[in-house]
Assembly symmetry: C2
Homo-oligomer: 244 residues x 2
DNA sequence: GAGTGGTCTAGACCACCCC
DNA sequence: GGGTGGTCTAGACCACTCT
C-alpha cells in the first residue's frame, strides 16, 4: 500500500506559537517598549502549557525581537531604547568607548531604484525611492558618509523637517514614525578609495582607503526595507565583529 | 541578626553542568568529532534530571562547541568537519559560492611578540612567537595575505614540513596536531592601502585599497591563542556579516 | 526495535521587582 | 505579598537513525 501521506513537514507547537506571537507584533497588538502578556496568560490564550510559550518566547528573545526582564515581564524590543539605539552600528573607536555619533543630513531627494538595489529591496527596477545622504560625526570629526534608499511606498510624507526633527537613530525613526521595526541586517564590506566628492565630505585626501559597507535591513518575515551604503573612515576607528 | 550570608551569586544548576562538561572537553575526555554520552547517561552521572543536562547542552550547542544530531547523539564540534572547515572565514565571492581557498605558505620564522600583540595573546612583551606568513588563493588568484602569530610555548615543534603536510584550515591543524580547539574570535576591520611589498604578493598595484582584518582567536575559557592580520582584496569579494 | 535527541505537559519552588 | 520570569523535576510521547 502507498503511505497515507509523506507528512509534509513537522511543525512543533512552540514554533506555531512563535508565529502567532509574531503576527500579533506585526499587527501592532503590542507596541515597541510595551510588555506583552505574561507567560501564563499567553499559555491560557493559546491553550498550551507555560513551557511551550516559554520556548516560543525564548526563540524571539534570542533574535532580539522580545526582551525578557525577570520580575517585570517580557517586552517588545525597541530601537528607541538607549541600549538598542545603535544596535547595528559596528564601527567603534579603537579606544573601546561606545560610539554615539552626531547626524548631519546632507540631502533628501526622490530617485529611482537602480536594478541592483531594487532587487535587494524586492521592488521593481526603477521603483521610486527616497534617497537620503548624511554624514555621521564623532567628536566634531566626520566619520561616515551614508547613502540610504527607502521605497517611497513604505515611507509616505518623508520630509527633511520630519527627519531633522527626529533625534536618535534611523531605525528608531522608522519605528516611531512608520511603525517599521528592523529585526536584522546583512552587510557586505569592501575596501575602496575615496573619490574627490566623498573625500570632501569626510575631510580627507582623495584616494584615502575607506570601508564601503553595504547593508540591507529587514523587518518581520525577512522583508527588506532599507538599503544603505556607508563609506567609513578607519583611522582611530574600526569595524568590530565577533565570530562565534 | 545579620544575614547568614549574602548569597555571593546565584548559579543555576545547568550552568554548573555546562562547566563540568566544558572541563571534560578541555581534559580531552571526548575528542573532536566524537559523540559525548547520551543525555540520560549524563543526567545519571551528574545526578540531575535530563532536562537540566539538556539545558546545559543547549547552551554549548548554541556556541557551536557541541553539535546535536537527532537520533544519533551529541558530538564534539570539530574544525575538521567539512561544514566547519572555514567557519571563521567571512570573505565570500560576490557570486555567493562558498570560498575554499588554496593555501600558499610564504614563511615560518621565530620572532618576538610586539607589545600590542603580546597583550592580545596574554603573553609577556617580547615573548617568543612563531610568525607565519601565507597567501590564500582563490581560482589561481591571490586574495588574502595573512600574518599569524602563535606563542611558541603552545606550539612546540612547529615546522614548515608539518604545516605544509597538513591539508585543511589552520584551525583544524591546531586541533588535530595540538589539541587546541578554537571556539570564537574577535575581529577589527580597517581599510588600508597596499604597500609595495603587499601589492607584490597580491599582484595588484601599490596603493590598492585593502581590508585589514585583525583577529584574535580564543579557546575554552576565553584564552587567546592566535593573533592574525589578514590583508584582503575586495574586487569580486566582500566581507559578509549578519547583524542580529 | 532499541536508542538518541526533540517536544510537551504539569507542578513545585526560586529570584527578582514593585507596591 | 503578589506578580513576573527562571529553574528544576518527572514522565509521556514523537521524530529520527541505525541495525
Amino acid at each position: 500500500m502507498s503511505e497515507p501521506l509523506p507528512t509534509p513537514s513537522f511543525r512543533p507547537l512552540y514554533e506555531q506559537i512563535r508565529i502567532l506571537i509574531t503576527q500579533s507584533l506585526v499587527a501592532g497588538e503590542w507596541k515597541p517598549g510595551e510588555a506583552i502578556p505574561s507567560e501564563m496568560e499567553l499559555a491560557a490564550r493559546y491553550r498550551v502549557s507555560q513551557g511551550t510559550v516559554r520556548k516560543a518566547i525564548d526563540a524571539l528573545a534570542s533574535e532580539h525581537i522580545l526582551v525578557r526582564r525577570q520580575g517585570k515581564g517580557t517586552f517588545v524590543a525597541s530601537h528607541s531604547e538607549p541600549s538598542y539605539q545603535y544596535r547595528f552600528l559596528r564601527v567603534m573607536p579603537d579606544g573601546g568607548e561606545k560610539l554615539h555619533p552626531h547626524n548631519i543630513l546632507l540631502e533628501l531627494r526622490r530617485g529611482k531604484a537602480p536594478a541592483e538595489i531594487a532587487r535587494a529591496l524586492a521592488l521593481k527596477p526603477g521603483a521610486p525611492v527616497h534617497v537620503i545622504r548624511r554624514v555621521l560625526e564623532f567628536r566634531e570629526r566626520p566619520l561616515i558618509l551614508d547613502e540610504i534608499m527607502l521605497a517611497t511606498a513604505r515611507f509616505p510624507n518623508l520630509t527633511v523637517a520630519r527627519l531633522e526633527e527626529y533625534k536618535g537613530s534611523m531605525y528608531s525613526f522608522y519605528e516611531a514614525v512608520y511603525g517599521l521595526r528592523m529585526i536584522r541586517a546583512e552587510e557586505r564590506i569592501r575596501a575602496v578609495a575615496a573619490t574627490e566628492e566623498v573625500a570632501g565630505h569626510l575631510r580627507v585626501a582623495a584616494g584615502t582607503p575607506l570601508l564601503c559597507v553595504d547593508r540591507i535591513a529587514f523587518t518581520y518575515g525577512d522583508m527588506p526595507v532599507e538599503w544603505r551604503r556607508g563609506l567609513c573612515l578607519t583611522d582611530g576607528f574600526s569595524y568590530v565583529n565577533e565570530l562565534a
